[in-house]
């Protein structure tokens, strides 16, 4: 299983940030400028392809921080 640092690297690729951004486990997703519908699609694909988990938009609405997302996916 990926550790949180590896997960964050994959998360950054999936969301495709326009400009470099520092992300920690405590980063609040809603505070990220690119946390939008496109980012949601990227994370749904990441979850499916890397972690074999099917998640929906509803799951994503229930998570607050990057660590919450890590817990959900791994």
């Amino acid at each position: 299983m990926d550790n949180i640092d590896t997960f964050i690297e994959k998360f950054i690729t999936a969301v495709d940030f326009q400009e470099a951004v520092e992300i920690t486990p405590d980063t609040v997703l809603k505070d990220l400028p690119e946390w939008d519908s496109l980012a949601a699609l990227g994370v749904i694909v990441l979850s499916d392809m890397e972690y074999g988990k099917t998640i929906t938009g509803e799951h994503l609405k229930q998570v607050t921080t990057v660590n919450d997302l890590y817990q959900l996916l791994t």
Binding site: Q18, L38, L41, I44, V45, T54, L60
Partner: protein
């Protein structure tokens, strides 16, 4: 029973028509929106789209495709026994566009003409509908006119970076001993709200207030008349349902993946198409794409991809194709079709 086989039906030809006007997803939007659009384009894989001007309908594109295909096939107009229009962009709510096209194309009054309301998933369904009529022996030759003016569902063509317009014609005919066509077709109406135009039908008739637009976070104005697309729901549906369906169809037909020359998927967006391709373990060269230049042309994206990417290969010799459509409905299906000596006119730009 979603799986089926049709015998004695020959794939005779296909023509595709797109409008002249090209919209660029980055360069044509206001400068302050371009950086965000570049990120979007990188991920959805759609750079340019073909968009009808106000006067041009789906049926105009379909007419041009059908006219060219009939001429190249050298079919006389009174030989066409059935004309099936498959679109969600009819000329009018009433009557059916197929009947209008029967007259425009100069087909006989004895032509069976009707519309089918399917979108992104439409192509395999359409082959099954017309193919069944031919396989039964009831008719000998028929046309499927399939496509959409999807860009108009958002009124302002810049507003939505996905949708593009196209009209296509496919000809099928009766031929004893033609290779079988195999199908797997599915529907799940519980997902009807994932892609919906909620206003304008009988459930929510149009009222004046529906026309009032509100400005969204992306700077574009939207009203209740615009298409609503639930991106997360659509990507989950597509990437979960499509790969097992393709595997099931191959299993039913008893055809190994390696024996399919090309897999022609609905061109939805790059993230969806790449996920499906990787899940099925298919090489890129077997999954041609037209997303970058032609965007998501709804059900027409399969014929667009064949006409643009596979024409030379199909003219050169016999090929086995697997068509796969998925989307609005929710609806998804696949068809395995052997194509040999069929007519493929060059892409028509109208």
């Amino acid at each position: 029973m979603a799986t089926s086989t049709l015998k004695n039906v020959r794939f005779a030809g296909m023509a595709t028509c797109v409008p002249k006007h090209v919209v660029h997803n980055v360069n044509d939007v206001p400068p302050h929106l371009r950086s965000e659009r570049e990120r979007l384009v990188r991920n959805i894989g759609i750079e340019t789209r073909r968009v009808c001007p106000d006067w041009q309908c789906f049926s105009d594109l379909a007419y041009d495709a059908a006219d060219k295909l009939l001429n190249d096939l050298q079919w006389s107009r009174d030989e066409v026994d059935a004309l099936i229009v498959v679109t969600q962009s009819p000329d009018y709510l009433v009557p059916a566009t197929a009947i209008i096209l029967q007259d425009r194309l100069g087909l006989a009054h004895s032509t069976i003409a009707f519309d089918v309301n399917l979108g992104c998933s439409a192509y395999p369904f359409a082959l099954q509908i017309l193919g069944s009529m031919i396989a039964s022996g009831a008719i000998k030759k028929g046309l499927i006119l399939l496509g959409d003016r999807s860009s108009y569902k958002h009124k302002d063509p810049l507003k939505d970076p996905l949708f593009s317009d196209a009209g296509t014609a496919t000809a099928l005919e009766y031929q004893e001993g033609a290779p079988p066509m195999y199908f797997d077709l599915n529907s799940d109406g519980s997902g009807c709200k994932a892609i919906i135009v909620p206003v304008g039908g009988h459930r929510n008739p149009f009222q004046l207030e529906h026309g009032i637009a509100r400005k969204g976070d992306d700077g574009f104005w939207r009203s209740d008349l615009d298409l609503i697309l639930d991106g997360p729901a659509v990507i989950s549906f597509s990437t979960q349902r499509v790969p097992p369906m393709v595997e099931k169809l191959l299993g039913y037909a008893d055809i190994p993946k390696e024996d399919i020359d090309y897999f022609i998927f609905h061109q939805a967006n790059r993230m969806i198409n790449e996920t499906i391709r990787k899940k099925l373990g298919l090489p890129e060269e077997k999954t041609p794409s037209t997303l970058r230049e032609f965007g998501n042309t709804s059900g027409a994206s399969l014929p667009v991809t064949v006409s643009v990417r596979l024409r030379d290969a199909l003219v050169a010799g016999k090929k086995r194709l697997l068509f796969c459509g998925f989307g609005v409905g929710l609806s998804w299906g696949g068809a395995i079709v052997d194509v040999e000596d069929a007519i493929f006119p060059e892409l028509i730009i109208s």
